[in-house]
Each structure stands twice: as structure tokens, then as C-alpha cells.
């Protein structure tokens, strides 16, 4: 019977095509780390790696949310502003003497609510996500300056302890609590995408919205859900940022959305949707973190050369990733 010949001839050792981008990123990340270690002795300290996580914990959380959105083929430009708004709001509420637990609850509600509303507008009124979330970005940033035009310090003991608690080994290497929270978010995000209906609907939606609709999937709910999830992740990211800086500042996290999108895409997620993994996003965030670390370790770059070098590294990275991807095809 000829139908048997339809079984793809696949060598068992061949990596499935869909994992290639992520693996390419991983390989390049390791190469970059090796370069750092060979150039700068202090680079090999374990704490350097931990610092990358400490300094990018909130970015990681936000990027997980963005992964959901991009997988559906959408985009969320509001994340940076929502992060800032959450931090700003927490700081302002704490300053007003509110109970930290209540502040946490409120802060964690506002982001997803905004996300939910944006999702509804995108779905029901069929307006392009880029525009809706751009308006969301203006709105959230406007809220920041509306709350206060100068930064508000946080002195709350709970916040302070969350910020300064060090979880580490006897040799003095440590991570912050934020890193653990970020890890939990990553694991939950990965699980939801791989093992729940919602997660699979996200992929289906990104693959072909029309088909998803005709297959009877809850397209609307899924779409709204991803923006709410992204809002939630931004809110968590905002809280982590307020732990990280112990303050809320109106101008913080400006332009963060581009970093987040870059991280997600470098991690192998396709902007048109339907293909990508949370693990890739983790790698993408690490790539950005390691590039930054390399530049500070060098410490001899001019301000403008810093930008050019970041652009150059980004280019080299994407080019290599692309070449590896092509070869494996």
C-alpha cells in the first residue's frame, strides 16, 4: 500500500526542525559566555551568571507574557509602561500607608485588567494589536506621571526584605527572591503552553486564526486571555522591579517593550506566531543580559560605541542563528 510510504523518512538522530532555532540560540549563548570567560578573568565567577538573572528577572517575567502574545501572532507594546505603572502604583499606595498584602493584590489586578480590556478591544472591534497596545502604552505611561511626577521611594519592611534577602551558597554567591519568582513564572508559563488547552489554542491561533475558528476553538477567549496574561506578567514584572529598585519612578522601563520583543524573537519565536518556546525566551533574555555584561566588563567603550557594539552583537547573533538554522534544514 502506498500510504505507508507517507511516513516521513526521519533519521532518529536528527533534531526536529522546530527545535533548531532554540538550539542555535543556546549554542551561541554558550559561545558568547566562553568568549567572556576567556577575555576577562572575573567573568567566570558564578555570581556573574547569578547577577544576569538578578538584573533581568523582571525582564524574564515580562518576556514570558510577551511570548504568549507573540505566539498568537499579536504584539504587546504596553508592557514597559505597565511595568512602570505597577511599580509606581505600589510605591504610591505604600507611601500612603496601605497594607503591603493589599498593595500586592491591587497591583496584581491592575495589569491584567488593562490587558483584558486591550484584548477585548482587539478581539471585539478587530483593531490591530499594535495600535491598541500602543494606546495602552501611552495610557499606562500617562498614569505614571499622573500618579506622581517624581520618583517615590519604598520603605516598607516587607518590600525591603524581599529586595535585600539573599539566597546563596556558603561561598557568598547568591540570588534574590525575584529570581526564584521569575523561575516559577517561567515554569508555569512553559507548562501552560505545552500542557493545557489554553496553551495549545495559543499555538493554533498563531498558526492560522481562520482555521482555529473553523476548528471550533475559542478564538476570542484565547486572544483576550493572552493579553490578560501579558498584563499579569507585566504586573508581576512591575512588582519585581519595585523590589529591585525599592521605588517607583515615572520614567523607568522606557523602551523596555523593545528589549522584551527582541528577547522573545532572539529566542526563536516567530513574530507571525505559531512557533516558539518559553525556554527560547529565557535564552533570549540571557543573550541580552550577557551582551550587557560583556560591555560593562570591557569598560572602555565610548557612549556611542556602546550602542553600535550592542547593535553589532545583535546582528552577529541573529546572523549566526540564521546560518545555523539554514544549515540544519
Amino acid at each position: 500500500m502506498t500510504t505507508t510510504s507517507l511516513t516521513p523518512t526521519r533519521d532518529w538522530w536528527r533534531i526536529p526542525q522546530r527545535y533548531v532555532p532554540v538550539l542555535a540560540t543556546l549554542t551561541l549563548l554558550l559561545v558568547m559566555y566562553a568568549v567572556g570567560v576567556s577575555q576577562y578573568r572575573a567573568f567566570s565567577n558564578v555570581q556573574v551568571i547569578f547577577n544576569v538573572f538578578i538584573d533581568n528577572g523582571f525582564l524574564l517575567v515580562v518576556a514570558v507574557g510577551m511570548t504568549f502574545v507573540i505566539l498568537t501572532g499579536g504584539i504587546d507594546l504596553s508592557v514597559g509602561s505597565v511595568v512602570a505603572m505597577t511599580a509606581m502604583m505600589s510605591a504610591s499606595l505604600l507611601q500612603g500607608g496601605m497594607d503591603p498584602a493589599a498593595v500586592l493584590v491591587i497591583a496584581l489586578l491592575v495589569g491584567p485588567t488593562l490587558g483584558f480590556l486591550m484584548g477585548c478591544v482587539i478581539h471585539f472591534f478587530e483593531i490591530q494589536p499594535f495600535i491598541v497596545t500602543l494606546a495602552g502604552m501611552f495610557f499606562a505611561r500617562g498614569m505614571c506621571t499622573f500618579i506622581s511626577k517624581s520618583s517615590i521611594p519604598i520603605t516598607d519592611p516587607f518590600w525591603t526584605s524581599m529586595a535585600q534577602e539573599r539566597i546563596g551558597d556558603p561561598r557568598g554567591n547568591f540570588v534574590s527572591i525575584s529570581v526564584l519568582i521569575a523561575f516559577v513564572v517561567v515554569v508555569v508559563g512553559a507548562f501552560v503552553l505545552a500542557y493545557t488547552r489554553l496553551g495549545r489554542n495559543v499555538y493554533a491561533l498563531g498558526g492560522n486564526q481562520q482555521s482555529a475558528l473553523l476548528m471550533g476553538l475559542p478564538v476570542g477567549q484565547t486572544k483576550i486571555a493572552v493579553y490578560a496574561i501579558s498584563g499579569l506578567c507585566s504586573a508581576i514584572g512591575g512588582i519585581l522591579l519595585s523590589f529591585y529598585t525599592l521605588s517607583g519612578a515615572p520614567l523607568i522601563a522606557v523602551g523596555m517593550e523593545l528589549d522584551v520583543i527582541a528577547a522573545v524573537v532572539i529566542g526563536g519565536t516567530v513574530l507571525t506566531g505559531g512557533s516558539g518556546y518559553v525556554f527560547g525566551t529565557v535564552l533570549g533574555v540571557l543573550v541580552l543580559g550577557v551582551i550587557r555584561t560583556l560591555i560593562t566588563f570591557d569598560g572602555s567603550l565610548n557612549s556611542w560605541w556602546t550602542k553600535i557594539v550592542i547593535g553589532g552583537l545583535l546582528f552577529a547573533f541573529i546572523l549566526l542563528q540564521r546560518l545555523i538554522g539554514i544549515r540544519k534544514k
Binding site: Y40, A42, C144, Y244, T296, F297, G299, S303, T306
Partner: protein, 304 residues
């Protein structure tokens, strides 16, 4: 980079300074960076310089990396005032002294840094206001002021506005009739001023939070057929070269200086801190104010 840039040669006696700059967002900032680089070289200090591209996260990253690299002294110009306690504690625990430049932090625990060297933005605003109060003390009617603010939410914008407001409260005739952000840029200053001019038939004074916005506004005023410096008096802050030139030409009326040349003082302090000398918690940069005549005199030998 060459293979030893990442480590501190702990024993060759050469002092290593890690400096994290805000960014390169203005000519002022560039002059500041250059001053630091030049004076480090002159003082024989090894400088590890990092540009944070205007992001606090990046500055914190940089400071953490300086701690890993075990530099002798860390200095930085904070992007924002708040949010430094955690990383400063880490520096303190690692035994590395920290010097703040240009902008302050709002930490309650003053032991987290050795000193803060920089201008006083409130004072700059105040000096501008006081000059105006003095200028207009004979005025009988109301004096209409328009204000070009810096980037909304930034420390210099907040403080200069505050200082200026406090000073002009002394004269009830002085009234701010419009206040908008010009984002610290010439284009912003010009666009906002154009609308101010159309909306308000009588503007007597312009207060701009920096020279660049003032220079932009200058063009708008000229285009509207008014004479800057006469029909509308212009007060700005910074005293960069173009601003000083305008002042000398009589187009501006007053500039409160905000000097970017912190380098020599910073290197001096770094050495003292390293040697364990006690130094004051707050050091003001040597700054002054300029009137057109003073500007004419000072212009030939200004460095930036």
C-alpha cells in the same frame, strides 16, 4: 578588549575607578563624560566606563559587575533618585566606596555612599527666579512668564521648577501663564514656544529648564516677529557654549550655570576616599550665574 581589562591588578598601586554614566542624551552629558575621561587619564587612574543608555537597570548591572571586578572606587550619576539601596549595600558589603555625581539618591541610609558631588538643581531654579524678581521689582503690572519644562518626571525638571516657583513667589506680580514640557530638546522648545506665542498675546519672560530648549524657543520668537531678550526676556540654565553665545549676543538675559566639569574634583575625591581620608557628605560643584556682560568675558576661555 585586551586580556587584562577585566581584572584589577590589585597590587600595582594603580587606582581603578568604575564609572557608570546615565547616557549620552545631551551635549552637557557628553561634556561631563569627556571631563571624567580626561581627568582620569591625567590623574593616572584606570577608568572603567559604562554608558547605561538612560536605564537604571543597566546602571545597577554595571555596578554589580564593578563589584565582581573588584574595582577600588565606584562612581555613578544615577538615572533616577530612588532604588539604589540594594545594590549600594552589596557594594558596601564588598568594601567598595561609592561616590555619586551630578544627581543625588534618596537613600535614608547615608552610609551607603561616601559623598555626592554635583550641582543643586533647586538652587539653579532659585537663582533664576531671584534674578527675575530683582529685574522686575519696579514693574507695576503683572509679568507674564511661560515655562519650558524638561522631560516630565526627571529630577532636573522637577527641582528647577520647584526652585524657580519658590523664588518668584516673592513677587505677586510674577505669574506663570503656561508651562509645558519641551523634553530638554531644541525642537521641543521651538514647537511649544510657537504655540505659546499664538495662544498668549503678551509674554514677558521665558524660563527654560535648559539652554537647548531656550535656543529652540529663540527661533520661534524670532519667527513671530519679536525680539528675544527685549520683547521677551529669556532665562535658562546650563551655560553650554551655544547658550553662552546667545547670552553674549543679548538674545538671552540670564543663565544659571550647571557645570559638567566634574572630572578633576571626582578624581581627587576618589584618591582621598581610597586613602581613607574623611570627606564631606555633600560637595557642590563650583558654579556661577551669567549676565550678558559676564558671558562676553567668559566666552573665549570656556571649554564646552
Amino acid at each position: 578588549g585586551n586580556s587584562d581589562t577585566g581584572e584589577t591588578p590589585a597590587d600595582d598601586g594603580k587606582l581603578t575607578l568604575g564609572f557608570s554614566q546615565v547616557g549620552a542624551e545631551s551635549g552637557w552629558r557628553t561634556a561631563n563624560t569627556n571631563s571624567i575621561k580626561e581627568s582620569a587619564a591625567a590623574a593616572g587612574i584606570e577608568l572603567k566606563f559604562d554608558d547605561a543608555q538612560g536605564k537604571q537597570e543597566n546602571q545597577i548591572t554595571a555596578i554589580r559587575n564593578y563589584i565582581q571586578q573588584k574595582v577600588d572606587v565606584i562612581a555613578f550619576s544615577p538615572v533616577v533618585e530612588s532604588g539604589w539601596d540594594t545594590v549600594l549595600k552589596e557594594a558596601k558589603d564588598a568594601g567598595i566606596p561609592v561616590i555619586l555625581t551630578d544627581r543625588a539618591v534618596d537613600s535614608a541610609d547615608k552610609s551607603l555612599y561616601k559623598t555626592f558631588i554635583g550641582s543643586d538643581f533647586v538652587k539653579e531654579g532659585k537663582l533664576s527666579g531671584e534674578w527675575l524678581v530683582n529685574e522686575t521689582k519696579s514693574a507695576t503690572g503683572t509679568v507674564n512668564i511661560v515655562e519650558l519644562q524638561g522631560t516630565t518626571g526627571s529630577a532636573p525638571a522637577n527641582d528647577r521648577k520647584k526652585g524657580f516657583g519658590e523664588a518668584i513667589a516673592a513677587n505677586p506680580n510674577l505669574k506663570i501663564i503656561a508651562s509645558q514640557t519641551g523634553e530638554f530638546t531644541r525642537a521641543g522648545g521651538k514647537a511649544v514656544m510657537e504655540q505659546f506665542l499664538k495662544a498668549n498675546p503678551k509674554i514677558d519672560v521665558l524660563f527654560a529648564h535648559n539652554d537647548d530648549m531656550g535656543l529652540g524657543a529663540l527661533e520661534a520668537i524670532t519667527a513671530a516677529g519679536k525680539v528675544p531678550g527685549k520683547d521677551i526676556k529669556i532665562i535658562t540654565i546650563d551655560a553650554v557654549k551655544d547658550g553662552m553665545q546667545a547670552l553674549a549676543d543679548g538674545k538671552f538675559n540670564f543663565i544659571a550655570e550647571c557645570s559638567p566639569l566634574l572630572g578633576p574634583q571626582l578624581m581627587d575625591l576618589a584618591k582621598k576616599v581610597k586613602a581613607g581620608e574623611t570627606i564631606p557628605q555633600r560637595i557642590l560643584t563650583e558654579e556661577t550665574t551669567f549676565t550678558p556682560e559676564q558671558a562676553k568675558a567668559a566666552l573665549p576661555n570656556r571649554k564646552y
